[in-house]
């Protein structure tokens, strides 16, 4: 019972992370807002946190997989807090348009905190973990259709981010304030 509930919650969590990544991606494509390097690293933090949920869905729920979620969220949260601090003083500017009064990096900091707290709550329930004799591939330990859908969507979002990041930054580091895609429209070279 608890294990099934735990798997459902992991599925919902992964779908929520897919929604966050898809929203950021949609904003980039629709409004043409190129993500800054710290924004890209925050997306990476969401991917690293979601990876732990994907581990739970494919290999069974384990405390170590929740640790993966927390460590990914801490890394992403550190990047988000750094960007919040860069713009926290009034009249020091901001990056991108706000959404519901908060900029994306502020939302990211809040969401990473929420992920950490939510994962800690899931860790409270010992009955939610897979038993040692559960093998990957068992029907009881499988992700289910919704879980499989979440896994596929998550993988697609990761692949989409590889493509968009490569187009924006090329093979090197991204400029702090990107104005154009490095590979689609490289900036004119100055003599």
């Amino acid at each position: 019972m608890l294990r099934t509930l735990s798997l459902h919650l992991n599925t919902l969590g992964l779908l929520a992370i897919v929604a966050v990544l898809a929203f950021a991606f949609a904003d980039q494509v629709i409004h043409g807002d190129l993500p800054c390097p710290l924004c890209l690293l925050q997306r990476g933090g969401f991917v690293l946190a979601g990876f732990g949920l994907a581990l739970n869905l494919t290999c069974g729920t384990r405390a170590s997989h929740y640790a993966v979620v927390i460590l990914g969220a801490v890394a992403g949260g550190a990047v988000a807090v750094r960007q919040v601090l860069l713009h926290i003083v009034p009249s020091t500017g901001a990056y991108g348009e706000p959404l519901l009064g908060l900029h994306f990096y502020s939302w990211a900091a809040l969401l990473f905190g929420l992920i950490i707290v939510g994962t800690a709550v899931l860790l409270l329930f010992d009955g939610g973990f897979s038993r040692p004799h559960d093998r990957p591939g068992d029907q009881s330990a499988g992700p289910g259709r919704l879980g499989l859908l979440a896994l596929v969507l998550f993988t697609l979002m990761v692949l989409a981010n590889i493509l968009s990041t490569a187009l924006e930054c090329g093979l090197g580091l991204c400029p702090d304030n990107p104005t154009n895609d490095e590979w689609l429209a490289p900036p004119p070279r100055t003599p």
């Binding site: 990876f51 992403g76 990957p136 590889i162």
Partner: protein, 51 residues
């Protein structure tokens, strides 16, 4: 280079689909290290804080 965390995560996900948990975890550790390294490279501006 900024694609590195995503590429490593994608490799890890590929390993997950093949049920190679150890490989997936290894790819995740490398992705985390890459993310922290890139973060270090981009933390260049001083924070505009004054107390």
């Amino acid at each position: 280079m900024m694609t590195l965390p995503f590429v490593l995560a994608a490799l890890g996900l590929g390993a997950l689909f093949l049920r190679q948990r150890g490989v997936a975890l290894g790819a995740w550790v490398l992705a985390l290290a890459a993310l922290l390294w890139l973060f270090h490279l981009h933390v260049t501006d001083p924070l505009p804080l004054a107390f």
